[in-house]
């Protein structure tokens, strides 16, 4: 709003110097009309207002006709056409009076920017279906730069409240506007910025209107810039930078958390009464959940009872519902846990249920806290069904936290019934540091294949957890691949493909399977092919290695890393 006002004020200031009287009256006139109608503006009334302000300047200024007559026929028609069009579309935009208003102030006509006129005429000529909305807006926009009335009129389209505001604002500004003030405001809006089609509707549209506005045909005109020039973040850099960041809202977030903590007794009461709890809202609730576990533990252990609490991180990739049940069973049974639990989650669940039934009634119930129950690993309907059964088990208390906006769609009525949930809004604003792999997510979103998932860090991490000879094998593989690459660079065609492929030379240059096996046996890394394949499978599972068949049918093993990254990993391996 402010940006607009400033400009129109600027425009208003200029004519004041040349023709002090005329535009003033015209302005106040139309403003008055506007003010009278503004509070109860309906689309119909808009038209009326248009007519009103149309007539006012007409009656005042006859010279307009002559100036109009002198204009070329082309321009003439150019100015006329919108009248009809806009009438037909009066719901959305009323450029009618803006054009008239423009012609209606002859003194300004003289000063009017010729190029703007041409442009508006052109736009109107080229007007087609999809620019229907914007075209008129654009025209109004151009004229708006010359005429304040047009400005305020145009506003009507958007919302009655704003109109009154802006009109009043105009009045005040009119009185106050001084030249010293003007340049300061100019910075607010770059000249011609409004000529672009804006996807943002002005003012407050109701949600559905906003949807249609943003989805209307032909608005998909976005710029063609790409991210090629921007160097993307790596995992390392991301974490390094995030460590430097100080959160401006730290105190507020802490306060928010403390408010949530205050409802711990309430949660406990709900637990006691057989409800299960679901926390939702924006932000990671992991810390809150952990705090609750702390609180619960303290409260109960003071009373001499140690409650078994199980915490589940639903976002952990590869987490299975069976492992959750198995953990709970371990917590209940402790030493008595049978050595074989059964492969099916239902079996474990039933074991769990019968164990719970056998427990004496005065023992503490089992509390299960599940972070991110709507995370992809647990999201599937089968898992949710099983969780619901767990929730329905007597003497099991379940606290879920859900992060996504539509998590409730996971549960149908019978699941909801089994879960027996009460919901609490626990917006924390805490970033999802553990829940999401930010860099990976973003790169997947950007469709950047070049950035290897995991990258050097990921590979290094996996290697740390692997046994000695697996690390040795990977070292061997890297050495071989790097050697092949160096060899390759000497022959021209190899080098060419290397440059073209660019991103992942490690995949194109590979080692032959047999060769690698032979070397591995020589270095006592693998004694049999079976063992060798087992080691390779581990790499496959972590996507640290690629394999393809070359035309002669030989299996070629490669590494999906850039050369620098490979060297880095190799360095770490040798040094470690």
């Amino acid at each position: 709003m402010k940006r607009k006002l400033s400009n129109s004020d600027l425009e208003a200031d200029h004519p004041e110097i040349s023709t002090p009287k005329r535009p003033r009256t015209a302005l106040s006139h139309s403003n008055g009309a506007l003010n009278g109608h503004a509070p109860n503006l309906s689309p119909l009334l808009e038209e009326d207002v248009g007519e009103l302000s149309h007539q006012a300047p007409n009656g005042q200024s006859t010279p307009k006709k002559s100036s109009k007559a002198t204009a070329t026929p082309l321009k003439d028609s150019g100015l006329k056409t919108p009248t009809h069009k806009s009438k037909a579309r009066s719901l959305f935009a009323t450029p009618t009076k803006s054009t008239i208003a423009k012609t209606g102030t002859p003194s300004r006509m003289r000063k009017a920017d010729q190029s703007a006129k041409k442009k508006s005429a052109r736009v109107l000529f080229e007007q087609d279906e999809d620019s229907a909305w914007d075209g008129s807006e654009q025209l109004a926009e151009e004229i708006l730069q010359e005429d304040e009335v047009a400005e305020t009129e145009n506003e009507i389209d958007i919302g009655a409240e704003i109109v009154t505001e802006s009109v009043e604002g105009d009045k005040i500004e009119e009185g106050k506007a001084t030249d010293t003030k003007a340049p300061k405001r100019r910075a607010g809006r770059p000249k011609g910025a409004r000529n672009k089609r804006s996807p943002t509707p002005e003012g407050e549209l109701p949600p559905h209107e906003r949807y249609f506005f943003q989805n209307r045909a032909g608005t998909g005109k976005t710029s063609n810039t790409t991210l090629n020039k921007v160097s993307l973040l790596t995992h390392e850099e991301y974490f390094e930078k995030m460590a430097q960041y100080t959160d401006p809202c730290q105190q507020e977030k802490e306060y928010l958390l403390s408010i949530h903590r205050r409802s711990f007794p309430q949660w406990l009461f709900e637990f006691e009464e057989g409800f299960n709890i679901c926390l939702f809202g924006y932000g990671s609730k992991r810390r809150l959940v952990h705090d609750f576990a702390d609180w619960l533990y303290q409260k109960r252990s003071v009373a001499g009872k140690i409650p078994p609490i199980i915490i589940v991180n639903g976002y952990t990739p590869g987490i299975s519902i069976r492992s959750i049940f198995a953990t709970i069973a371990t917590a209940i049974l402790g030493e008595e846990l049978p050595s074989k639990l059964g492969a099916q989650p239902t079996e474990v669940l039933e074991l769990l249920q019968s164990a719970l039934k056998a427990r004496p009634a005065d023992e503490e119930p089992i509390t299960v806290l599940i972070n991110s129950v709507d995370a992809p690993p647990l999201r599937r309907a089968v898992n949710q069904t099983l969780l619901a059964r767990l929730a329905a088990t007597p003497r099991v208390r379940l606290l879920l936290s859900a992060d996504t906006p539509n998590f409730a769609t996971m549960w149908d009525i019978s699941l909801r019934d089994q879960f027996n949930l009460v919901f609490h809004d626990s917006t924390t604003f805490t970033p999802f540091t553990a829940e999401t792999n930010v860099v990976e997510e973003v790169h997947a979103l950007l469709g950047r294949k070049g950035q290897r998932v995991g990258g050097k860090e990921g590979v290094g991490f996996v290697l740390k957890s692997l046994p000695e000879n697996a690390r040795n094998l990977y070292r061997l593989l890297l050495t071989e691949v790097l050697t092949v690459m160096e060899d390759g660079h000497q022959s021209d065609d190899e080098a060419a493909t290397g440059v073209d492929g660019g991103v992942r030379p490690g995949e194109d240059n590979g080692v032959e399977f047999r060769l690698l096996y032979q070397k591995a046996t020589e270095e006592f890394i693998a004694s049999s092919e079976m063992m060798f394949r087992t080691l390779l499978k581990e790499f496959h599972d972590h996507q640290m290695i690629t394999s393809r068949m070359d035309p002669s049918g030989m299996e070629i093993l490669g590494v999906p890393l850039s050369r620098e990254e490979m060297e880095g990993v190799l360095e770490d391996l040798v040094l470690a």
Partner: protein
């Protein structure tokens, strides 16, 4: 604030296991738990003098923690007592509702064998409609019945248990055996048997079990039949059919849609395997009305749900599918909220004023609107001393409050009695559209029943009743209310009148349409219609007098009982009427919450700094900034431009001090948030573009 909180910006310092899937909680080392101190000390310090007793308590002392510990305990006990009584009632109703179907199904299961079904599998089709929970209730009670008579058992199968035939069979067999033998019994059964070891999905196992136990009926219940894979169902049923001569299967199919639709999905060959009967479970809505009535109108009711809560509850039942259990849970939560969070609820526990005497509680009572109203009334009615006494003396106040709670409860009971009376009268007077008792209760609780159309219509219709109808109406009135109604002598007169004119029944009152005559006169070519009373017989005139007295008594009664509950002094103690925590607790709006958090982060983050100046500012969390930019964009967003805009937000405020890479890291975090919320996805239309998939408020 919290010093430890400041320290762990990345939220990793205390929680050591963010990457572990599932683990057993171990308390952090004692040094670290210091961070829990403030929260804990707050609780204990208030109860410091009471010592250990406080620890085991679930309720928190209210009134800034200054509430008397005894009152806290009283509130809890009172809740337990009141709710357990209500719960028993609900259970009784549920059992009663199910009883009919249960008996039918049970007799069906007992009476039918493959022989009576022409060699087909005996099948019960149970349509449950919206009342999904009823089936599990039904099945568990059926199971109990069969188990207690050693006839067999019920195995419930859900679609989730049946991914393929092998697993399904395995699950069936295990469930059957564990049903009687327990989990260990099952394993023993598998291992301790002579002969070759059978695979766990071999129906021979079940056969052996049936022989050993002498099972007569094995009911296999498919809880959500529609969700099963038809092919699998076909295989399973044909397999069961072929074992039917050895294992006495009976199949129960739970159907939520309709039998026809379900049948349409199955192949003919499958249907020809089944023969049986159709059972229908009563609709949930009916059940809910009954539960509501018994909760509110019970003779020894102590607290009531107000109009707002009632309408929220009923709205939910009407607008969504909801089971009676879910309904009663919501009611339970309302009761819980009342006793947990309202210090005045302690007055419901019939405490002696001595145990209560606590200045803070008295202060709380004096702050209630109803107290203010009560005092104003006292002053208006010319007893300012009483009002002054109430304000100055805690003792008087407590006495008065306790007695008024009782008076209020009495009037609430009578209010519901009156509603019940209206309801039973309406059964006679309304012919087409029946008003149900919950609707009446909502109107009664809001206090506008006394001047309502419904009541006027009802009384008008009653006037026109002839003696037969009136007799029936009087006979069906609830006994409890008749004592309040004071119409005993009227009834006696009525009875004697009817007795005296037993031959010329029915008697009609003068309001009856048959008793008035339409006169048509032609005056100067115009037709004049005029109503006149036909000459009534003496007995009819007598009857009319009785009717007038009766209606008068009703009117008087209603005027007295249909009060406005919000006007009762101390209604805060026994009337729970807060819509909001209840509604948000059971029908959350998570998407709205997230959108609001991101669009207006300072709604949540109460900030001391002035935040109203700029809409988007660096002071907001990065995701909120990006989300607001996202809101302004069109359906397709250029990532580069989005990034530039995001950056410029920071650049314009921080100037040269702005670290581009740091901002980019924030941008990454924000973008990944939006992605995990499903708000953006990669667009194939253009390179480096996102397509927007969620519009705020839609």
């Amino acid at each position: 604030m919290d010093p430890v909180g400041q320290e762990d910006v990345l939220d990793l310092s205390r929680d050591k296991s963010p990457n572990q899937g599932a683990y057993v909680y171990q308390p952090a080392n004692p040094g670290k738990t210091a961070s829990e101190r403030p929260a804990k000390r707050r609780k204990v310090s208030s109860a410091h003098d009471q010592g250990q007793a406080a620890v085991s308590q679930i309720f928190v002392p209210l009134l800034n923690g200054e509430e008397n510990l005894i009152s806290t305990q009283l509130r809890h006990d009172c809740y337990k007592q009141i709710w357990s009584r209500q719960e028993d009632r609900i259970q009784a109703i549920l059992e009663d509702v199910d009883a009919g179907v249960l008996a039918d199904v049970l007799s069906f299961v007992r009476d039918n064998t493959p022989e009576t079904c022409n060699g087909c599998i005996p099948t019960g089709l149970v349509t449950v409609g919206s009342n999904v929970s009823s089936l599990s209730r039904l099945l568990s009670r059926l199971n109990d019945q069969l188990l207690s008579n050693d006839e067999g058992g019920v195995v419930v199968l859900e679609s989730g248990d049946a991914p393929n035939l092998k697993t399904t069979l395995k699950n069936v067999i295990r469930a059957v055996i564990t049903n009687t033998e327990g989990n260990d019994g099952y394993h023993e059964f598998l291992t301790d048997r002579s002969g070759p070891r059978l695979l766990s999905y071999d129906l021979d196992l079940l056969h052996e079990y049936v022989q050993r136990k002498g099972t007569k009926k094995l009911v296999l219940a498919f809880r959500d039949s529609e969700a099963f894979d038809p092919v699998l169902l076909m295989d399973l049923l044909s397999l069961l059919k072929s074992w039917l001569d050895r294992i006495p299967f009976t199949v129960l199919l739970g159907i939520s849609t309709s039998v026809e639709l379900f049948e349409g999905r199955l192949p003919r060959a499958c249907i020809s395997l089944l023969q049986g009967k159709h059972f229908e479970v009563q609709d949930a809505g009916n059940c809910v009305d009954r539960i509501y009535e018994s909760l509110q109108a019970g003779p020894e009711g102590k607290m009531w749900l107000g109009r707002n809560v009632t309408s929220t509850l009923l709205e939910k039942t009407h607008d969504y599918f909801q089971t009676p259990e879910a309904f009663s849970r919501m009611v339970k939560h309302a009761y819980m909220s009342h006793f947990f969070a309202n210090p005045l609820s302690v007055l419901l526990a019939n405490p002696s004023p001595a145990t209560l005497s606590h200045p803070v509680l008295c202060e709380a009572i004096r702050n209630t609107p109803s107290f203010r109203m009560f005092c104003e009334d006292l002053i208006e009615s010319g007893s300012p001393e009483n009002a002054r006494n109430l304000i100055e003396s805690d003792e008087t106040l407590l006495q008065e409050a306790i007695s008024h709670v009782e008076i209020g409860q009495q009037s609430m009971r009578r209010l519901f009695g009156a509603i019940g009376l209206i309801f039973s009268c309406l059964q006679h007077t309304q012919s087409v559209k029946k008003t149900n008792i919950s609707d009446l209760s909502v109107r009664g609780l809001s206090g506008d029943l006394s001047e309502s159309q419904v009541l006027d219509d009802m009384l008008a219709t009653m006037r026109t009743f002839d003696s037969e109808k009136m007799g029936r109406l009087l006979d069906t009135l609830p006994e409890a209310e008749l004592t309040h109604l004071l119409i005993e002598d009227i009834r006696a007169d009525f009875a004697s009148l009817v007795g005296a004119h037993a031959r010329s029944l029915p008697l009609r009152s003068e309001y009856n349409i048959n008793s008035s005559v339409m006169k048509t006169t032609v005056v100067q070519q115009r037709i004049l219609l005029s109503k006149g009373k036909s000459n009534l017989a003496k007995r009819d005139l007598e009857y009319t007098r009785i009717v007038d007295r009766l209606v008068g008594a009703f009117q008087e009664y209603f005027a007295e009982t249909l009060i406005q509950p919000q006007e009762l002094f101390m209604h805060e103690a026994f009337l729970f009427d807060f819509r909001n925590p209840l509604k948000e607790t059971f029908t959350p709006r998570p998407r709205f919450a997230i959108e609001r958090a991101l669009a207006n982060p300072f709604d949540y983050l109460v900030s001391s700094a002035d935040t109203s100046a700029a809409r988007i500012s660096v002071k907001q969390p990065p995701t909120a900034i990006l989300y607001q930019l996202y809101l302004e964009s069109g359906a397709l967003v250029n990532i580069h431009d989005l990034w530039q805009t995001f950056y410029s937000v920071f650049e314009s405020e921080q100037g040269d001090a702005c670290d581009e890479r740091l901002v980019m890291a924030l941008f990454y975090g924000a973008l990944s948030d939006l992605r995990s919320f499903g708000m953006v996805k990669n667009s194939r239309k253009k390179t480096d573009h996102l397509s927007k998939s969620v519009w705020i408020g839609l």
